[in-house]
């Protein structure tokens, strides 16, 4: 089955742009990215769109479809009616480069601010022993394909450029959680999560979890457990009491 689909695609660059209307052939079993490729091959050869694996594994083709952050390659055309107009824009949290391509360097800068895995000093390569149940929580976070849709949808930076300095975003707060829960990481990451990476700015409205194409439970399994670990240190009366007593004993 094939039909003429109506598309509105944002064309332009940092200086300005607008939604352009196109009518493109759509075939059975296609995803939005297929249609954009047909658009490139037939009507708009210079339409800029970032993509790579086309199988939802590399996280390159992030954009917004009908206002929702999505991967272009994982959005099947069958979710739309043939009469629907499909609107495609670049991610709206990052500076636009051209058409559907944005400057995501914010994310790479944030990645560098998270201290790396700190292995125990006394273990040689090959001596690492970890139980499966102990690595599973971090493994969930390592499924992340770095599409940055969570960073795009998070209102802390989407609606507030001024927060970009102080807030690492869900992706990198999750990275901190990943290292914090790593069974062999020896660094203490809890105070910095709150003080340097802006964990407190997160108000757990779960949009990151909603858009994650890997289905990672970012809020429930990474952000809230990190907030709880901060609470352990700073806000829990029993833990505080326990620590004071044990300190006195020492």
């Amino acid at each position: 089955m094939s039909y003429k689909g109506r598309f509105r695609v944002w064309r332009g660059d940092a200086a300005g742009g607008a939604l352009a209307d196109y009518t493109v052939e759509v075939n059975d079993g296609e995803v939005v990215l297929d249609v954009l490729h047909r658009l490139q091959a037939t009507q708009a050869p210079d339409l800029a769109v970032r993509w790579n694996c086309k199988a939802g594994k590399c996280g390159s083709c992030s954009a917004e479809i009908n206002g929702r952050p999505r991967l272009l390659c994982m959005t099947r055309m069958s979710v739309f009616a043939p009469t629907d107009v499909v609107t495609v824009t670049p991610m709206r949290t990052f500076p636009v480069l051209r058409d559907l391509v944005t400057d995501v360097s914010f994310n790479y800068a944030k990645a560098r601010e998270v201290p790396s895995f700190t292995p125990p000093a006394d273990l040689a390569p090959g001596e690492y022993r970890m139980a499966q149940v102990d690595v599973e929580r971090s493994q969930e976070f390592r499924k992340c394909i770095e599409c940055f849709l969570c960073q795009d949808t998070c209102h802390v930076v989407r609606d507030h450029d001024e927060n970009k300095e102080a807030f690492a975003g869900p992706r990198f707060l999750m990275r901190i959680a990943e290292l914090e829960m790593h069974p062999l990481d020896v660094a203490d990451r809890v105070p910095a999560a709150q003080d340097e990476h802006g964990l407190g700015r997160c108000n757990i409205t779960k949009c990151c979890t909603e858009v994650c194409p890997e289905g990672i439970k970012i809020t429930d399994n990474a952000l809230i457990p990190m907030k709880e670990r901060v609470a352990d240190r700073r806000y829990d009366p029993l833990v505080w009491l326990g620590r004071t007593i044990s300190r006195r004993r020492d």
Binding site: W10, G67, R92, R201, E228
Partner: protein, 274 residues
């Protein structure tokens, strides 16, 4: 062209450098439905619960059913319903002091600081954000870094108290099986109270703080098999925390309504046993 007053230009998705789309959200689905429904649901509960907490009547039925809104009944006013107070009466009887003034503030605090309810009211009342990728109206966002929202971090305190209150509710539900004259009896009201208590435990146990203190804070599950087992069970419950949050709002209202109606004599409690 002038920008709408509530959305000064050059902010958020209109900030310089970002794609000039011109429309602040392109979402075509009914994204406003969820926050509106949430707001209405929460309002209904707040209005009902406030009215009932201050009514100071019809809280004890058949000499054994105590509504959770009055538990534990520790006001001197509880004397009006003999047998309703299981833990002594010492708070002054004042129209501004609910009979369960000992537990209600903590239950309110527990729900207010609950990770699910926070999401619900940040979205539906504060509109930050009303829905994903829909711009929020506020000029600044500091999240939970400052007073008063930094206080959300005390959720843990409220959880500990909520466990105590749940124990009291459980006690209430159990002693309700004993009628002062007829001995052991089972009425429909017992089932209502019991079901409500089970659901309250589900909500309390599925709390994120509970998940953390029971095992989530450990780095090496393999060294703590019992706590790991608890953590896996609580994690499974935790995925339904939102569901229990809403179910318990409904079950609290229904339980209270049942006790009230029996106390008023509007309906008669059906005895199944005894």
């Amino acid at each position: 062209m002038t920008a709408p007053a509530r959305h000064p230009a050059w902010r958020g998705v209109d900030a310089p450098g970002r794609a000039a789309v011109g429309v602040r959200t392109l979402r075509t689905d009914r994204w406003w439905l969820a926050p509106v429904a949430t707001a209405l649901g929460l309002l209904v509960f707040v209005v009902y619960a406030t009215a009932r907490a201050f009514e100071q009547a019809y809280f004890f039925a058949d000499e054994r059913y105590l509504t959770p809104f009055y538990s534990p009944c520790v006001s001197l006013g509880c004397a009006s319903a003999p047998g309703s107070s299981h833990f002594g009466m010492f708070l002054p009887d004042n129209p501004l002091i609910p009979y369960a003034a000992l537990s209600l503030p903590f239950l309110l605090g527990f729900r207010l600081t609950c990770y699910y309810y926070r999401k619900a009211y940040y979205r539906s009342f504060w509109l930050a954000p009303a829905a994903c990728a829909v711009p929020e109206p506020h000029p600044r966002q500091t999240g939970e870094t400052r007073f008063p929202l930094v206080m959300q971090n005390v959720h843990r305190y409220f959880f500990y108290v909520a466990v105590l209150v749940s124990l009291v509710n459980t006690y209430d539900a159990l002693v309700a099986f004993r009628h002062p004259d007829d001995g052991f009896v089972v009425g429909v009201g017992n089932l209502v109270l019991l079901a409500n208590v089970v659901l309250l435990w589900c909500y309390t146990a599925s709390c994120h703080s509970c998940r953390h203190v029971m095992g989530g804070r450990l780095t090496h599950f393999s060294k703590h098999p019992v706590r790991y087992w608890f953590w896996t069970r609580i994690s499974a419950l935790n995925t339904r925390h939102m569901l229990f949050a809403w179910i318990t709002l409904a079950s609290l209202i229904l339980t209270d309504l049942y006790v009230t109606l029996v106390a008023r004599g509007t309906i008669v409690d059906l005895r199944l046993i005894g």
